[in-house]
C-alpha cells in the first residue's frame, strides 16, 4: 500500500513549492489521497523554502511528519537540514550543480542529478524542478509522466500552455539522468 512522505526543499525561486503542488495534483488526478504543506513565512522571502507532500492510498492523518521516505533537495542548507531525516531505506534526489557536499549515509539511496546544467541545455533554467521530478518518478514511479502532464495542463493558466512541451522534455531528461545516476 502506497504511503509516500516527501520533503522538497531549496531556495525560494527554485520551484520547490510548485514541484510539490504539481506532484500532488497529479497524484490526485490518479485517484490518490494527497496533502501538501508549505513552509510559509519569513524564510520564503529569499531564504529556504520547503514543502511536505504526502501521497497515499489511504486517509492521510498528519500532514506534517518529521521523517521522510524521499528528500528532493535543491540546495546545501536543505541537505544539512533534511539529510539525516530520511527514513532508512529511503532516497535522496539532489541537485548536484548546487549541492557539493551530499549526505554520506549508506543506509539510503542517494542520487546526484545535475538538473540546473541540464535545464540550461534546454535553454530554460526554470524547468530544473521538473527535471528533478522526472528523475524522482523514474526511481519511484508512484504516478505516471502522463499524470504530471495532465496536472500541468490544469495548474498552468492557458496562456502558458505553450510551455507544456518543454516541461515534458524536462521530465524525460530527468528520467534519463536518473538512469545514468544509478
Amino acid at each position: 500500500m502506497l504511503n509516500e512522505e516527501i520533503i522538497i526543499a531549496g531556495f525560494g525561486g527554485q520551484g520547490v513549492l510548485s514541484m510539490g503542488q504539481t506532484l500532488g495534483y497529479a497524484a490526485m488526478v490518479e485517484g490518490k489521497n494527497v496533502s501538501w504543506m508549505p513552509s510559509y513565512g519569513p524564510e520564503m522571502r529569499g531564504g529556504t523554502a520547503n514543502c511536505i507532500t504526502i501521497v497515499s492510498d489511504s486517509t492521510i492523518s498528519s500532514p506534517t511528519v518529521s521523517r521522510f521516505d524521499t528528500g528532493i533537495l535543491l540546495n546545501q542548507p536543505s541537505m544539512e537540514k533534511f539529510g539525516d531525516r530520511i527514513k532508512k531505506g529511503g532516497i535522496i534526489v539532489y541537485e548536484s550543480t548546487n549541492i557539493l557536499h551530499p549526505s554520506e549515509r549508506k543506509d539510503i539511496g542517494i542520487y546526484a542529478i545535475p538538473a540546473a546544467d541540464a535545464a540550461n541545455k534546454l535553454n530554460n533554467v526554470k524547468v530544473a524542478n521538473m527535471i528533478l521530478l522526472g528523475a524522482y518518478l523514474e526511481k519511484k514511479p508512484i504516478i505516471s509522466i502522463e499524470g504530471v502532464m495532465e496536472a500541468l495542463k490544469k495548474v498552468l493558466p492557458e496562456r502558458y500552455h505553450n510551455l507544456l512541451p518543454i516541461n515534458r522534455k524536462a521530465l524525460e531528461v530527468g528520467a534519463e539522468l536518473m538512469k545514468k545516476a544509478n
Binding site: M28, N33, S62, P63
Partner: protein, 355 residues
C-alpha cells in the same frame, strides 16, 4: 464521473472562499492578514464573474461593522481574519451577538500573544469559546481539521447562523488554511430563509424593524439576556458535533481538534502499532462542547491526554467534562511550532506511566 470537475486541489483558505461563493454569500468584508490573505485574494479575483460583493475595508474594526450592517439588512455575510485582526473585531462581534444577527466569522489562528508570529497556533481557544468580547454571549464555534471541512463548514456555518440568528465562528489555524488537499464540492441546493426582522425599508403593512444592541432599561436588557440564554440552550441541545476514532476498545483517549487532531490521529496509529489501546476524540464544535461523550468515556478509560498548539486551554473543558473521574494531562507547543506525531507519542507514553 460527472462529479470529476468538482474535485480540486486547494488551500484551506481558497476552499473556504470558493465555498462561500457557492453557499450564496452576498457580501464579504475583510482586511488582509497572514495566514489567511488568500481569502480576500480569491474572492476579489472571482468577483467580476460571479454574483457577490467582496470589499477590502480600511481595517478589521470597519470590516466587522460592515458585517453588522449587512447582516442587519438580511444579507448572507462573512468576514475572516487572523488572531490580531480577530482581536480588533471583538467589540463588533459582541454587538452582533446582542443584536442577534446571523453571519459567518473566521479566525485562522496564528501564534501570539501580541502581533506574535504568522505560523499556526491554537492559542485563541479561550477567546473563541469563552467570549472574546464583552457581555454574556456565546459564539457557535466550528473547528475544521482538513481543507474539505474548511469548505463544508462554510455551508454549515451559514445555515446554523440563519437557523439561530446568531454569529458562527469557524476557528481554523495557519496550517489548515495554508495546506493543500483534495476538496470535493458537492452539488447542493442552497436554502435561504426569510428574514422578516431585517431592516430592508418599512412597508406600510408592518411596524418598523429595529436592530440595536443598546437596551438602556435593565428590564429590557435582561429580557434580551434571557432570550439569548434560551437560544444558547437550544444550540447546546441540538448542535454538539464530534468525531471518534478507535475509541470502542480504547484504554486511553487523546482529545484534540483542528491540526492537533490530524497529528494525534497519527499518534493513535503509532501507539496502536505498539499495542497501546489509544483512541481519539475530536471536538468539531468547540462550543457547544462535547462534554457528555467525554464524561461517558471517562467511565471506561484510564486517562485523557489533551493535545493543543497552546499552553493548555481546551484541557479546562476536558477537566470540567470528566469532573475528576480520571487523570487529564496536556501536551502542547507554542509560538507557531508544530510538534511531530513522534514527539507527541513520546510524551503520551510518559503520561500513561504516571497512571
Amino acid at each position: 464521473m460527472e462529479q470529476k470537475d468538482d474535485i480540486r486541489l486547494m488551500k484551506g483558505n481558497e476552499a473556504m472562499a470558493e465555498a462561500a461563493i457557492q453557499a450564496g454569500m452576498d457580501a464579504y468584508f475583510g482586511y488582509p492578514i497572514t495566514p489567511q490573505s488568500e481569502v480576500l485574494e480569491y474572492l476579489t479575483r472571482e468577483m467580476p464573474n460571479r454574483n457577490f460583493l467582496a470589499l477590502q475595508a480600511e481595517s478589521e474594526v470597519a470590516s466587522i461593522n460592515m458585517v453588522y450592517g449587512a447582516a442587519g439588512a438580511g444579507a448572507r455575510v462573512m468576514t475572516s481574519s487572523s488572531s490580531p485582526g480577530w482581536s480588533l473585531m471583538q467589540e463588533g462581534v459582541s454587538y452582533i451577538a446582542s443584536a442577534q444577527l446571523p453571519c459567518l466569522l473566521v479566525n485562522v489562528n496564528r501564534g501570539g500573544p501580541g502581533l506574535g508570529t504568522i505560523q499556526p497556533s491554537q492559542g485563541d481557544y479561550f477567546q473563541a469559546t469563552k467570549g472574546g468580547g464583552h457581555g454574556d454571549y456565546r459564539l457557535l464555534v466550528l473547528a475544521p481539521n482538513s481543507v474539505q471541512e474548511m469548505a463544508d463548514f462554510v455551508f454549515l456555518g451559514f445555515e446554523l447562523a440563519d437557523k439561530y440568528r446568531t454569529p458562527v465562528l469557524m476557528l481554523s489555524d495557519g496550517a489548515i488554511g495554508q495546506m493543500m488537499e483534495r476538496v470535493i464540492f458537492h452539488k447542493r441546493e442552497i436554502k435561504k430563509i426569510d428574514k422578516p426582522w431585517a431592516t430592508t425599508g418599512k412597508p406600510k403593512d408592518r411596524e418598523r424593524n429595529i436592530i440595536t444592541s443598546l437596551f438602556i432599561q435593565p428590564e429590557k436588557m435582561e429580557k434580551v439576556n434571557l432570550e439569548l440564554m434560551k437560544k444558547y440552550e437550544e444550540i447546546e441541545k441540538n448542535e454538539v458535533r464530534y468525531e471518534e476514532i478507535m475509541t470502542e476498545d480504547a484504554e486511553y483517549i487523546i482529545v484534540a481538534y483542528g491540526l492537533s487532531a490530524r497529528i494525534s490521529h497519527k499518534v493513535v496509529i503509532l501507539a496502536r502499532e505498539k499495542g497501546i489501546k489509544l483512541g481519539l476524540l475530536r471536538p468539531i464544535t468547540l462550543w457547544p462542547y462535547p462534554s457528555e461523550v467525554l464524561n461517558k468515556l471517562a467511565d471506561r478509560v484510564k486517562g485523557m491526554f489533551v493535545v493543543e498548539l497552546n499552553a493548555g486551554q481546551m484541557i479546562e473543558d476536558v477537566r470540567l467534562a470528566v469532573n475528576g473521574k480520571i487523570k487529564v494531562a496536556h501536551y502542547g507547543r507554542m509560538g507557531g511550532i508544530i510538534p511531530s506525531p513522534e514527539e507527541v507519542e513520546e510524551h503520551f507514553e510518559k503520561f500513561i506511566k504516571t497512571l
